[in-house]
Symmetry: C2
Amino acid sequence: MTGSTIDLLAKALPDGRVLTDPDVTDSYSRDRTFLAPGAALGVVLAQSRDDVIETLRWATAHRVPVVPRGAGTGLAGGATASEGCVVLSVAKMAQIKELSAADEIAVVEPGVITADLDSAAREHGLMYAPDPSSYEISTVGGNLATNAGGLRCVKYGVTRDSALGLEVVLADGQVLNTGRRTVKGVTGYDLTGLFVGSEGTLGVITAATVRLRRAPLGPPATIAAEFASLRDAASAVSAIIAAGCQPSLLELLDRATLKAIDDWRNIGLEAGVAAMLIAQSDATDGQAVARRMHDLCMENGASFVAVSDSPAETEELIGIRRMAYTAKERLGNCLVEDVCVPRSALPDMMTAIEGAAARHDVLICTVAHAGDGNLHPVFVFDHGVPEPPQNVWDAADEVFRAALDLGGTLTGEHGVGLLKRRWLELETGPLASGINAGIKKVFDPLGILNPGKAI
Amino acid sequence: MTGSTIDLLAKALPDGRVLTDPDVTDSYSRDRTFLAPGAALGVVLAQSRDDVIETLRWATAHRVPVVPRGAGTGLAGGATASEGCVVLSVAKMAQIKELSAADEIAVVEPGVITADLDSAAREHGLMYAPDPSSYEISTVGGNLATNAGGLRCVKYGVTRDSALGLEVVLADGQVLNTGRRTVKGVTGYDLTGLFVGSEGTLGVITAATVRLRRAPLGPPATIAAEFASLRDAASAVSAIIAAGCQPSLLELLDRATLKAIDDWRNIGLEAGVAAMLIAQSDATDGQAVARRMHDLCMENGASFVAVSDSPAETEELIGIRRMAYTAKERLGNCLVEDVCVPRSALPDMMTAIEGAAARHDVLICTVAHAGDGNLHPVFVFDHGVPEPPQNVWDAADEVFRAALDLGGTLTGEHGVGLLKRRWLELETGPLASGINAGIKKVFDPLGILNPGKAI
């Protein structure tokens, strides 16, 4: 591939769309993993569907791999540039094209920041439910490409549950419209669902019709409970779900995480605390639900339960959860993992993580979207080391296999990207791999879209 | 195809699995549409996954089309036998293999009756949410194959929203496992979602892992409101949704439907009533929600609103909705349609239906899952006429095109089957058709699975 090829693209697009300065392309070549990118030929900053079409036509004509990209907040290497690729950023396509309160839908470009869509919806008494932890900096398009999860999933589902229809540019530049503006519909195969979570390997999303939901009428009610044992905390999770509390957030933090936060911000962590559970209810009778969750935590062995009765106190409790990742990054470089198990397997999974940490002498700090059985064990290693050392991989391998043995999955919400491809077939088996490859070929016969990722 | 070919299958399967008596095969060759089936070579009454595997291996070896079938309650001809096919019934595979209250999931065979799964779940304080009107006689497998809707969709979503994982036998007899036991997961493409709604064209579902939900704690609160104008009724629907009432059922019946019911069962229909709205709330504060829905109906022009305060009265109100289809069948043969529009387009869609009825001199009685914008205009024609006459098709054509013009879809929950294939490309366009055909080929390269249906 030569410089002149990318020049052809630069000429075909409006001025300033293509960047080739290596320092600049490098800054568009990474996501939030440690993964080192290949050298990209250039970066396209698309501002319209036409820019995307032109780029893909050019890529097809010249057989250049294309790595689509939103804000680059991914945690699995899905947007990591590959050698000789063009990075196609849709971050500047950031218009909310329509917001219909009557139909509870929005039509948005892929570069819209997730929190901005949520804010726009709230002006109409609605909300956009998907809220990955990155939602203030990540894009709707990136969330769709990875089928992002988040804290509210436990009540409102994942990004796919909010996707009604997509406009997608295929590898050859053709524009495909999938799905619909209606909440129900069964014409043809579920192509919308297929694109969601396909990590840019099937096409480039240029617009999305998403479902909005009624926003809660008041502020949520919040509790935080401390437990002397992880199993007790997990029992409380089960009890809260079984009682039909329908929490809008149900997060578990292990001692290693709490200690990292305490070392940084002094949250007064007591010696005997093994886990903290933070729960919210956004129901109209949220305070009553919070009291019920308080009681269920006490019945299941909590040593202390705080119930918030002010927005300030709520912020403080939720703030603990928000500090978790930054607190770990202070300790070292982080490999953030993302296993998900059936809820009843949560205690066994926590035990398996502790075992792997001890056996391989790795610091693992775990937070979990406990109501979904989705755990984020964060493997911490030395700041000076760019890639996870072998003992971290060995521990991670053990954690992945334990999740699968417990009937779980390798990734609940981050995606496979580059990071988890070597374990993928352990979960899906060779038959599904072949089928995934066959489907990929239907959409992208030349294999130019984000090759080597996701499947 | 000769008799001896089917004999080979009969020999390969345990005794009694294959039926070839034409009277018997005919009874397994129809769904609930008027569509006349082709002559099937035989019917396989599968009792196990192995029977399904054996049948598909044989079908692949001899290039025999296979028409999979649950209870045959479909309304689009998806299970209508084609000439020279083998009908593969999974109705006898009806075991609930697992029901985990802790994980809120069940693993079931495809022939389990939907209501039976719901009942089994209720013993644990859970429910299986999908409830197509046929749920007392239709199967979970058939519901999955068509992505069936139902009355509770307005709150709990469609069948796809309850499908976590599938075991599927592919055309060549290989067994594919899709999805997972966890509520979240993003490994590989969403094959589960792809199979749901694929109407037996991609594989035969032999087991499903489905999501259960907490059952409401008490009986639902119910209201029924009468309106002198369809537009007022539609405004009430919008108001109920916009107020965040989250009804668990929100059904609209037009005057033609009410009249058919009144002629049969005398429900005391007043002269000026143009529409009835029936709404339920299964929330813990359901009675308060019902009162709010009552007020919203009155504010939007209802002439009368009944609020049920006893299970008997609730039964009576819901009974009116249940009688709708039978009441119409008394009047003639029925073509049941299934358009879905954005909720705000409900009044325009009702107007379009009335216009088509008048222009083509057809009796159309409409019920709608109004909260979802999903309308069932039922075209009534003479009992003696086996197929819809031309004026019915002309009116239906007009209704379909109006739905698409309003940003809607040809089918909200029944599927494309045979019935709607000639309109399909109007909605999806040729590019999606080509992609659907390509996907079909990945799973079923010889095209033996339910050929000529769905896509």
